[in-house]
């Protein structure tokens, strides 16, 4: 019975399907490349070769096939660094979103479901969080504690949960009075069960859409932090770090910042397209 409806809506969904397809391809493609980095890279991203510094990419004169995307100022193969950098970006994006998603969803669902004092407390936390400038706090923490991958993921995870919380809270409030929640309580289900098995699955798609957007945000934030020297520490090949390290050479070897910059743009674009497409596709099919 659902098949005819889908067929009828297909023409209307075409733009959304395109976004979904494109976004999916981009993100999927980058993820595959990142996964297969050791196989594809051909070089060790940390191996320095001071005799091969600032070799341009193969399409420019002076470049060759040995280093397809050239080398950076320490002779490290750029393609390898780019691919390994993709790993870092994706790791940070996913790790942060997982952490912030858990925190935000837990808070939002609690506030939305229980109401009263609990909700007041949750709202207070959200307002407090929103009044903090996230980037500055992240900078301060990393500056105090020292930079590492773990620190960055933890800090961003503890800072970026607000959108999850707001969306989780609103959607929970919309469904907590529906009859099937009452029926579950009448059936003898515990509150924990109801939150986990009745509420959560029915708000999941909204959270999914937020999650895709948060991944993009986390990746960009990490790049900003690394650029400022307070993110992922060298010699890890974070794209932000690559831009930061390359900025001294950007007038003569513009490609050294253009390549990681472009890569980040494509990844974030892909994630946003995916999120948009998901939102449209899910929005239409939810009754």
């Amino acid at each position: 019975m659902s098949a005819p409806i889908r067929r009828r809506l297909w023409p209307a969904l075409l733009p959304a399907r395109l976004e979904l397809l494109l976004g999916g391809l981009i993100v999927g493609g980058i993820a595959v490349l990142a996964l297969l980095a050791p196989q594809i890279a051909g070089h060790d991203p940390f191996a320095q070769d001071l005799t091969q510094r600032l070799v341009p990419p193969f399409w420019m004169e002076g470049g060759g096939t040995r280093h397809l995307l050239g080398t950076d100022q320490l002779g490290r193969d750029y393609l390898a660094r780019l691919l390994y950098g993709a790993r870092i970006s994706l790791l940070i994006g996913l790790g942060t979103t997982l952490a912030s998603g858990l925190i935000g969803t837990a808070l939002g669902v609690a506030g939305g479901f229980f109401g009263g004092r609990v909700d007041d407390a949750v709202l207070f936390l959200i307002t407090a969080r929103l009044s903090l400038p996230a980037v500055l706090v992240a900078l301060a923490v990393v500056g105090l504690v020292g930079s590492s991958l773990t620190v960055v993921v933890t800090t961003l995870g503890l800072l970026l949960w607000d959108r999850f919380a707001v969306v989780a809270r609103t959607t929970t409030m919309q469904i907590r009075h529906l009859d099937y929640v009452d029926a579950a309580r009448a059936a003898g289900c515990s509150t924990g069960w109801i939150l986990l098995r009745e509420i959560l699955p029915n708000i999941a798609e909204h959270l999914l859409v937020i999650a895709t957007l948060e991944v993009a945000l986390a990746i960009l934030l990490e790049a900003v932090l690394s650029f400022l020297g307070l993110g992922v520490p060298p010699p890890l090949p974070s794209w932000g770090l690559m831009i930061s390290e390359g900025k001294n050479f950007m007038f003569f070897s513009a490609w050294i910042i253009a390549i990681p910059g472009l890569a980040m743009m494509v990844l974030v674009l892909g994630i946003n397209l995916l999120g948009d497409g998901l939102r449209q596709a899910l929005g239409v099919e939810t009754r």
Partner: protein
Amino acid sequence: MSAPAVEIRNLCRQFRIGGGLGRAPRLLTAVDDVSLAVPDGGVLGIVGESGCGKSTLARIVMGLLAPSSGEVRVAGRSLAALDRRERARLIQLVPQDPFSSLNPRRRVSDNIALPLLAQGGMTKAEMARRVAAMMARVGLRPDMGQRYPAELSGGQRQRVAIARALVLRPRIVVCDEPTSALDVSVQAQILNMLAELRREMGLTLLFISHNLAVVEHVATEVAVMYLGRVVEHAAAARLFREPRHPYTRALLNSVLTPEPGLGIPDSGLGDIPPDPSNLPTGCRFNPRCRQAEALCGTAAPPRLAGPGTAECHFAERPPAPPALLPAER
């Protein structure tokens, strides 16, 4: 005589509404000192219009909402003393809206199995067997178990809701307007099915509805609620033949039976809708009552004294004849 299946004693429930900075919140009395007893195996119909508190009463009896004061006893035991599993084995709910009473993300058979899962301690095979048996009982084909609620019609969904309520074989089922959202022909099917199931399983029903004709068909006793109080409680046959409270009479007059040529009745209730947060003094029905006198505005009428009584100063008076528009040309 066995103990009543459900006993409601002096039940009150208030809600705080409004109130903000510097303003005290108002108190809305949704249920005001309600006492009822439902005999084992009987069907108590609760009727009233919107705002009368019948849905709140249903939720309190179900254990979904705590009363502000008063007690509910189910099968002789206090409802508050039961843990959730015991309560679920005794009393279950069929909600009103078939479109929101089933979890849309779960298949039909999983929806029906929910109370079994909540009890725990049953093997998957046993649960599947009981679900299949219940589905057959309510007239659902076995292949529907794998479908999602969105694929079912309103009537079919209500059958699923009934199956879910009955799978634990409870003693009491609270039906909160179970057929109000359904077409007339589907309603008839569901009501007939409920009557059969009730006979087979020896159920006691608490049947909430605003549709008096349905209640007359289904109930053995009827309680009429107005602004949180039960204003009349009587055996169904008697209530519909000789209503004692003016509000009951107004309600019955307003029922549009499918008999042409009788015109449209005038319930005589006037224009002002009842406001639960702003109760009148004395008898709370007096602003809209045709037979109201000075006494009604000052003194509250004597409380209900069990079945067969009405909460009115003049319960024994014969009713004023209803006014009708002239018959259609």
